[in-house]
């Protein structure tokens, strides 16, 4: 961008906040097991619907990170896919009475289909323009959903979404068991994101993120790759949105509004861009904080989240995961150097 003011030999981009070190495979496997254990134990310690919210928002943040951290595209309209899937999942569950995992998969599929034309238009612009175009399309969808009262219930939302699960009553009525029934869907989304990132396709995305002109010169169809990752990301956001709406039993316009797109970007940046791990971490912080504030009767959540956002962007652009990883790396570096001095 020509309009930079300060002398910038190397502009710090959102993507360069991503850690460039690869974790040691043993550490990585250990973390994975630890993460699974935490996820499995979560509803024992936290009210299960809240635990479900953390996972849903965490997956949603992973889908945003896939675009922002690994492709360098900030989607500020991801509520479009989360919300579309929330509604479609609800409609499938209510009108067809199918088990909820089928409904959620259907919702995610529709979100992916919607992402094709949106992505086709949005990837024509990059950087800040991409953010604005996606934001505007999400808002268009918001207005359409508000108009289509017969289908979406307008401002009342879509109520009474059943948790049908092959007639197993425990899952259908008890949020504790529902959590474990919905967990595979979340893990499916996280796995899809991880596979995308660690495949050759993912390496091309990194190349596009770091130097689009060069990726193009090497013969990669940059726009096509961007559309493909956009669609994958929309599918993951759709999985998250579907689980969220089934868990709550309703889908409302709140799911499509731009503040939701903003919230998920906040969660992603708070957790750490370009880490995938960061999303669930950020989600845990934000969801628990909002839960605390809401139960203490404080109205004005935006004052807290807005302040956090400002501080994070000003001071901790690497987020929780990135800052933590840096600290550990620095500690280890100082320990090895002091060890050498002793020897």
């Amino acid at each position: 961008m020509s309009a930079q003011l300060t002398d910038t030999t190397r502009v710090e981009t959102a993507a360069s906040a991503a850690p460039d070190r690869k974790l040691n495979p043993f550490v990585r496997a250990g973390l994975l097991v630890l993460a699974l254990l935490v996820v499995l134990a979560l509803p024992w310690y936290i009210y299960p619907p809240v635990a479900m919210d953390i996972l849903a928002w965490g997956l949603f943040a992973i889908s945003v990170d896939l675009l922002l951290g690994f492709t360098g595209l900030l989607s500020f309209g991801h509520a479009a896919f989360w919300g579309t899937s929330a509604y479609v999942t609800g409609l499938i569950a209510i009108r067809l009475g199918l088990p909820f995992p089928v409904a959620v998969l259907g919702g995610a599929l529709v979100a992916m289909l919607l992402a094709i034309p949106t992505g086709y238009l949005a990837v024509r612009r990059t950087g800040i323009y991409f953010a604005m175009v996606t934001l505007a399309f999400a808002q268009m969808l918001f207005f359409l959903a508000n108009q289509a009262r017969d289908i979406t219930g307008g401002e009342n939302g879509l109520q009474g979404i059943p948790k049908s699960f092959f007639g197993i009553e425990l899952v259908e009525t008890d949020p504790f068991y529902f959590y474990y029934a919905a967990l595979p869907l979340i893990l499916l989304g996280a796995f899809a994101a991880w596979r995308t990132v660690s495949s050759p396709f993912g390496r091309v995305l990194l190349a596009i993120r770091d130097n689009p002109a060069r990726a193009r010169a090497l013969g990669y169809d940059v726009e096509r790759y961007k559309i493909m990752v956009f669609v994958i990301s929309a599918g993951i956001a759709g999985l998250a949105g579907g689980v969220f709406s089934v868990s709550h039993g309703f889908a409302s316009l709140q799911e499509l509004i731009w503040q939701t797109s903003g919230k998920v970007v906040l969660i992603t940046v708070l957790g750490g861009i370009g880490t995938l791990w960061g999303g669930p971490l950020g989600a845990a912080v934000v969801v628990l904080l909002e839960d605390q504030l809401a139960s203490s009767g404080f109205n004005g959540i935006g004052i807290i989240t807005g302040t956090i956002f400002v501080l994070i962007v000003l001071l901790f652009r690497k987020g929780i995961w990135g800052t933590g990883a840096d600290l550990i790396a620095r500690l280890r570096a100082s320990r090895t150097s002091s060890g050498r001095r002793d020897a």
Partner: protein, 289 residues
Amino acid sequence: MSAFIQYTLQGLATGGFYALAALGLAVIFGVMGVVNFSHGAMYMLGAVGSAVLLDVADVPFWGALVIVPILLFLFGILVERLLVRWLLGLDPLYNFLLTFGLTLLIVDLVKRRYGVSGLPYQLPAGLEGRINLGGLSLSSYQLFAAFFSVVLCVAVWLLLTKTRIGMIVRASTEDAERTRALGINVGRWVTPVFGFGIALAGVAGVLAAPFRAITADMGSNFIIILFAVVVIGGLGSILGAVVAGFLVGLVEAYGQAYAPSFAQVLIFVLMAAVVLVRPAGLFGREEAS
């Protein structure tokens, strides 16, 4: 026919707000490379500010039209000095996110202080009635708002094209590096330009106060439409912002008149068409890479 003229007037009045605010957005983006998400919140502050001034200090509309933009200019300078400045050298996405956080903060602070229901405000003295023009009955306030926005846009245009200050600002917009090489301290112009852009959003807010519901959320839809306006006009293009502002205002007014359920959607359809045919916007230049 007379209905059509009324819709046109309404569109021009609404378009005036969009044009003024988008002009502020474009100037800020041009000089600083910052997309100011909090522009909608500043517009809201403009409207809330005039209502509060009336309530607390009995300042009439005409007073607010002068005082509120000055206050917002100062507020903008504060925001630039304390927050935006630190991220100028980085990816523009960071300032986008920073101003987004600021928006949440401002909106909820106003909500806590003044509640969610609308604040009362009347049409300014002398403009309450309607003007009859050959069988047409037009709201005199809407006439004034449309006229005033056009005049202000022209004034800003003259400021930017005919004065030395404008020349420096435009040169910084075009190519900050080369302007600096010509011995101009671009950094010194950044703060007042940000304040100026915020003040323009404030003017739009004051103009909107008499005939829009004044709530903390009034900026949340406004900012999205504003983004559509600058995408249509071409971000950073000053002429584009003004033309697209009035265009979107007209589309919205005609939409409300002839296809009320799709008035808002029409704007985004227009945006999609522009992105499809001319990705850089009507008056924008193609971006590099």
